[in-house]
């Protein structure tokens, strides 16, 4: 290192050759600087391995596995995707650490779209996605089969920030017009008609939407498409071209923060995030014509009786005709390839997913404001675990 060279030179040629030079402190500075440099290098090059990394390759390093959920399996698996399941994933990962301390799991909440992209690229073992793989992305699978493991159910809330308005009712038509910027102030007559007795201020409506590729967006827009048909012109996909006055943010958390900090804002946020942020949510009119507030029971009601395909995909938004069902209930899956690169990955995935789908994992959901999977769906999912092979 040049600093060392300079330090060495200075030490050799100081006192005797340059008696006039002001030297006090300089040698010490050089010596300390050199020591610090060496120490930094030593610390940096230390071989203590990182405890987690979201971008390492999907292959995990470990000892040979015995049974699929045996504690002797050790290694690391990575997941990425949906921010809807992020809070649950974080809780499950840390609870899983106590049952299986040798397995490290990592989950990065980058949004459903990026999570799926990471799965295609092979940088994660499982992708958290609130929607099934769209047809446009099918070619990226290269013919490989994927397995959908449903994880949880939950409502998408329409969270709003109107001090003084503690309860608000909205119909799908109203939501569709608000989010296409056709209704721009809160005291619009259409909103007032549905909310008799509520004094709505003249505050302009600020839309809070997602800037990243999101399964929550996909399900929210799917709900609008199903409920109002052609009146919703922006389509349904993970990225939408929102009106130009909308304020975009990243992740469910970002939208929640935008709503929380902006008076007059309304945004679509998953229930777990909305509750944890202390946001107020509107009651939405469902298929049976009733206004239902978002809650875990309303979500479970909406999911019960939903038609489940053989690959465990289903469509919970705007589906149920039950009068107490919350209409914007959606779901999220952990998507894995059916065929894994090696037996260790199979065991690791079975161990973690088994935990998530098992009673311990599912018991974590309610305190976090999620609805657990209906029991028939849960059993089907657990049975599907055996389809992960190497």
């Amino acid at each position: 290192m040049a600093i060392g060279l300079i330090a060495a030179c200075m030490k050799r040629y100081t006192h005797k050759e340059n008696p006039d030079m002001h030297l006090r402190g300089r040698k010490h500075v050089a010596a300390v600087g050199g020591a610090v440099a060496v120490a930094l290098l030593a610390a940096a090059c230390s071989s203590s391995s990182s405890s987690s990394s979201s971008s390492s390759s999907a292959a995990a390093s470990s000892a040979p596995a015995a049974a699929s959920s045996s504690p002797s399996v050790s290694g690391k698996i990575n997941g990425a995707g949906s921010t809807f399941q992020l809070t649950f994933q974080q809780a499950a990962i840390s609870a899983f650490k106590s049952t299986d301390p040798n397995i490290t799991v990592n989950y990065d909440g980058v949004g459903s779209g990026s999570g799926r992209a990471d799965l295609y690229a092979g940088t994660v073992n499982y992708a958290g996605s609130d929607s099934t793989i769209p047809t446009t992305e099918q070619p990226k699978l290269n013919g490989k089969k994927v397995l959908y493991f449903p994880v949880l159910i939950g409502p998408i809330t329409l969270a709003y920030n109107l001090p003084g308005v503690s309860s608000l009712k909205l119909t799908p038509t109203l939501i569709s017009e608000i989010f296409q910027a056709k209704i721009t102030t809160w005291n619009n007559s259409a909103i007032a008609a549905v909310n008799p007795g509520v004094s709505l201020p003249s505050t302009p409506i600020t839309l809070a939407v997602r800037s990243d590729s999101s399964g929550t967006t996909q399900n929210f827009t799917l709900f609008l498409q199903d409920a109002v048909g052609s009146a919703w012109t922006l389509g349904s996909s993970s990225t939408i071209k929102w009106p130009s006055t909308a304020r975009a943010a990243s992740g469910n958390g970002g939208v929640a923060q935008a709503v929380k900090s902006t008076t007059g804002a309304i945004g679509y946020v998953d229930y777990s995030t909305a509750e944890a942020s202390g946001l107020t949510a509107a009651s939405i009119e469902n298929k049976a014509g009733q206004f239902v507030a978002p809650s875990i029971t309303a979500a479970s009601t909406a999911a019960a009786g939903v038609t489940i395909a053989s690959n465990l995909t289903f469509h919970a938004v705007w589906d149920s005709t039950d009068p107490t069902a919350y209409p914007i209930t959606y779901q999220t899956w952990d998507i894995v390839y059916a065929v894994q690169p090696n037996a260790t990955d199979v065991s690791l995935l079975k161990a973690y997913l088994g935990f998530v789908l098992g009673s311990t994992g599912q018991a974590l959901l309610e305190p976090l404001h999620y609805a657990p999977l209906p029991s028939n769906l849960d059993s089907m999912a657990v049975a599907q675990l055996s389809q992960i092979t190497s």
Binding site: A2, V110, G111, G113, S114, A117, D118, A121, A181, T184, P204, T206, S211, D212, S213, S237, S238, T239, I240, K241, W242, P243, S244, T245, A246, R247, A248, A249, S250, Q257, A258, S261, T262, T263
Partner: protein, 329 residues
């Protein structure tokens, strides 16, 4: 490395001396080492240009020039037009310059003309403190504290100006948001003030004392002296300083990304959400795993690089010329 103890002539300093056989190896080695370190600057700049351009070619080939410079940005449908972001960058930087120019020049004049030498040190320290606050902290404060507070102010201004012809195009409109072009411009103005101030000070300091004293001798007040003696000398230098501030404002990423509202729009309404080139790169890069999307973002990085280089080149040239001219007189 031994001292040549002969009585012969010492090896002179000055212009690069041709490496003769008598120079010890260590000496030549050191020179080569220093030269390589210097060349590293050029190498890095060239590599930046080359590597980033090569990574962004798919954007140009897929979209063509009309697609690249279109006003439509829709990644879901593979449309990547850069104009909304170029517009946002220009607008926020313009707001920043318009606000920062009088403030910075005012402070620079304060330091050089009004405040006694002894007191200028603490004021300079305060300005440095402004420079020390990291961009992300400005953004954090901006999005959590400033934007919500400004929203109501913007709202009142906008409703107060409804119907007023010119002003309402800038300060009126629908969709008033605390996170907007103007808030981003405000924070940028605060961030570029230190650099414009310190450069303006340097430029103003080159004004010959004779001219100043001559003005005073003629009975000018301080303000008249500034107008008559300081300004003509330093005006191009200050323009250069402002250009440098502009370059810095255009490249500022994080603070803007947090407070601009993330909505690719082209509008004259400054109190509404917008987007800028560095912000979209920072916000969307994690999303951009598809080829053309990533190429588009890197391509915008190239555009930004070229723009800031051009602005910096002109700024340095102008400042250099003015300082030289003033020094020569």
């Amino acid at each position: 490395m031994s001292i040549t103890a002969k009585a012969g002539p010492a090896i002179p300093a000055g212009p690069a001396h041709p490496l003769s056989q008598r120079r010890p190896l260590g000496d030549r080695g050191f020179q080569i080492l220093a030269l390589s370190a210097g060349l590293l600057v050029l190498v890095i700049l060239v590599l930046i240009a080359v590597s980033m351009t090569s990574q962004s070619t798919t954007w140009f080939t897929t979209e063509g020039w009309s697609g690249v410079f279109s006003t439509d940005w829709d990644p879901a449908h593979n449309i990547y037009g850069a104009v909304p972001f170029i517009y946002g960058t220009l607008i926020t930087s313009a707001i920043a310059i318009i606000i920062a120019f009088p403030v910075s020049v005012g402070i620079a004049l304060l330091l050089t003309e009004v405040v006694p030498r002894r007191w200028s040190r603490p004021i300079v320290y305060v300005i440095d403190l402004l420079a020390v606050v990291p961009s992300v902290v400005w953004g954090l404060w901006g999005i959590l504290i400033l934007a919500p507070w400004l929203q109501s102010i913007y709202q009142s201004i906008a409703s107060g100006l409804t119907g007023v012809p010119v002003l309402s195009t800038f300060f009126g409109g629908q969709g008033i948001s605390g996170a907007s072009f103007f808030t981003a411009g405000l924070i940028l103005a605060v961030m570029i003030t230190p650099i414009v101030t310190s450069l303006s000070r340097e430029v103003i300091a080159t004004v010959p004392v004779i001219d100043r004293e001559g003005a005073y001798a003629l009975g000018a007040t301080r303000w008249e002296m500034i107008q008559g003696a300081v300004w003509p000398h330093s005006q191009s230098g200050i323009v250069g300083a402002v250009l440098l501030g502009l370059g810095r404002a255009m490249g500022e990423t994080i603070a803007v990304a947090l407070v601009i509202g993330s909505s690719p729009t082209i509008t004259t309404h400054l109190f509404t959400t917008g987007y800028s080139m560095p912000s979209v790169i920072a916000n969307q890069f994690g999303e951009a795993t598809v080829g053309v999307f990533r190429a588009a973002l890197i391509g915008m990085g190239v555009l930004l690089f070229v723009l800031t280089i051009i602005i910096n080149l002109s700024a340095r040239a102008i400042v250099g010329r003015s300082v030289r001219r003033a020094g020569g007189e």
